[in-house]
Subunit: 492 residues, 2 copies
Amino acid sequence: MAKEITSQQEDYSQWYLDIVKKADLASNSKVRGCMVIKPYGFAIWEKMRDDLDRRFKETGHQNAYFPLFIPKSFLSKEAAHVEGFAKECAVVTHHRLMNDPNGSGIIVDPDAKLEEELIVRPTSETIIWDTYRDWITSYRDLPLLINQWANVVRWEMRTRFFLRTTEFLWQEGHTAHADKEEAVAESRLMLNVYADFAREIMAMPVIQGEKTAQERFAGAENTYTIEALMQDGKALQAGTSHFLGQNFAKAFDVKFLNRNNQEEYVWATSWGVSTRLMGALIMTHSDNDGLVIPPRLAPIQVVIVPFPVKEGGEKIEAAVSEIMVGLKAKGISVKYDNDEKTRPGFKFAEYEMRGVPIRVGVGMKDLEKGVVEIARRDTKEKGTVALEGISDYIENLLNEIQENLYQRALNRLNDGITVANSWDEFTAAIEKGGFVYAYWDGTSETELKIKELTGATTRCIPFVAPAEEKGSCKCVLTGVDSEHRVLFAKAY
Amino acid sequence: MAKEITSQQEDYSQWYLDIVKKADLASNSKVRGCMVIKPYGFAIWEKMRDDLDRRFKETGHQNAYFPLFIPKSFLSKEAAHVEGFAKECAVVTHHRLMNDPNGSGIIVDPDAKLEEELIVRPTSETIIWDTYRDWITSYRDLPLLINQWANVVRWEMRTRFFLRTTEFLWQEGHTAHADKEEAVAESRLMLNVYADFAREIMAMPVIQGEKTAQERFAGAENTYTIEALMQDGKALQAGTSHFLGQNFAKAFDVKFLNRNNQEEYVWATSWGVSTRLMGALIMTHSDNDGLVIPPRLAPIQVVIVPFPVKEGGEKIEAAVSEIMVGLKAKGISVKYDNDEKTRPGFKFAEYEMRGVPIRVGVGMKDLEKGVVEIARRDTKEKGTVALEGISDYIENLLNEIQENLYQRALNRLNDGITVANSWDEFTAAIEKGGFVYAYWDGTSETELKIKELTGATTRCIPFVAPAEEKGSCKCVLTGVDSEHRVLFAKAY
């Protein structure tokens, strides 16, 4: 199996594609830019979703569901918003098919044209704020803390599995507040929820910060982001949270009576993460032998493979059965693969490819000594471990693997930030890969020029600035006095 | 609150609408036929979904995700299927909007017309079987047991909350098998899963049976159904499971090598339930005071309301706190409503409207006697109960309410079946409401004629025939000799 994967060093993009396919995460469909998420990939996404959903509920949010379609006129109500999404949306114009009277098969029925076209939601601010107008009348109705798990469509020209697909799955939080401070606090809170999730569950460290005006969400007053660093030195925006000000409340006329009985526009946030996180997960941990996933997201945490024997098979079965009972009692998901048609070596490669964190090999000779073979996916280390107390051992090892993956990724992130104080330093650092932390004069023109010259974009102004020696405060490109440094990187 | 609900006797349709709105389950959107599922309604749906999902996984199914869009040509590949869905589908024809050069706002960009139109999935057999062609090559790949939770769109002309909406949420299972027997067994197994779920979780008894050819799913060789009886005497199809034969395998050329190394077409099933179940739930248990929901689906199972006191409030708080600890330890969801701005009577009506199964009233006088007031939603009975052992009492009462709701609905279903042996008996029974069990000559012509004359349709040929005296075997309409009785009813 493993030999069928292109190495990261040879071609990182091809390696990524190979992992997605060989680890059975997704496959292409006949619909342009739309993928099929296969059961193994979907099981990982379900674990992400369930954990995020728990965090949303713990912070007081409720789920709801809003329509897939958005009337064309809604999109136009917020000027920046329509500008951001009009060029890449799926438009429903008819509601019926018919048999071609000329016999050429099934055609769109011209008599079934919609009066107003419907857009397949690229994001739901407009339809949701149109609804909130009916739900909100007084400060007593606020805050309104709602989340939706949904599919959305953005007509992307170049698509890649998980990272950029025409249709994708996500959650979108949409909250309404009585004042600005509370809305800003909410958008920061949810960014923290994302960062905690990334660290604790995905074992993926992120940098939290604020987007530049140029990189803001269409319709937001401020966009906060978590940025991760992939193994090839490119950044990946893993989640965003937006302070929307009163923009959507004004566009959809959503007002409330405050405690002083005065009418005011409502303040808003929105925030989302998507199946893009699957791409981030792959490119944070995996290697040339296949997928590597942290134990907390692994659909199968432990696989047990028996070594074939001519006789004494019942002893192996008995030992395995005892191990499984112990693991299941601890809530550890375990699979026993006793398929006799497949050799152990082939199974090893297969589970390595799928990123199962721990493999337990059970053979007669070992059993006689009271031990089994244990191999961990992250470090490839192998050793024998006593059967006695094995479920505690495995439980600890799963935690250790989770922690090791995080530390490995954290070291890479920390090593991947370069401070640049001149244009030469900047271009060299971008060329090398990773984040480059540099002064920038604060203009969109300079951002665009830097992108044109180097391919790098501003990722964020970090909340917590990386430690650095004091340098000049001049923009690396224009030399103009600058207020603060920004993180630049080439990005997915 | 309650007085704002139209009574069932006065106008059942308006009563239903009132329940949906006043119990905060759903609201209308500006998009034709699409509703918004509000947090309280969505919380009930989430409980249904989670329980069904567990049952699917326990029976060996895995979740996956397939594209929202279906190329127009795919729909046409199975003749009956396109016939069934072509007249009610949302068609995507363009992928971009633009500013009107004449200044009339945002218009569809005529240059962004799709080469082939895309249909928003009304159901996913076609896109899924197009994918299965790549996934299945040998008998070793079978059975393939996959489920998808998704939104689908059918352009309905007349819509009603939950029962019939243009967009709805559902799950669709799509399985592939090496032989006919296994596929038929799968479709029957999943119908059983639905019936068990309806009985155990929704407290809703159903009749299992087979649809007539006329009422089959478009593209199926056999459709099995669970049929429930609503309070107004109308039937509701609550879930269906289809044996698809080799129809889709042939349409999409999905073959496998069997154990004898011969190529064969794959056998298929599909099965689904949807947010329609929310409508069934409402019309099975609710009353003129609002929603009634079985404890296993209640987002809040117990609400605790304190009676206001001038002093001694801390004793009430302490008692409530102890009750809540006890209930939470048992996994019972409990809400403490100590909002001082609202009178207890208003709260009582509110929680009655929302169908909270048990209400606990905590007042000083009762506390001094070591008791609290308990009211159950299903029977409206009220009484005092000792604080000691109260969590056990409530746990038992929740089970009793669940069971009582089921028994009540079961009695109604059993009383709602009339055996008819003549046309007069038939029309009188249909007029009265409920299921009518009558001989039918087996032709679609007769079915359609009966529908035209009485408004009743065939619901199913029950697997288990209701007990009956032996009557004539003549079709109630045509008098032609008939093979078996069919259940007829007016239906949602």
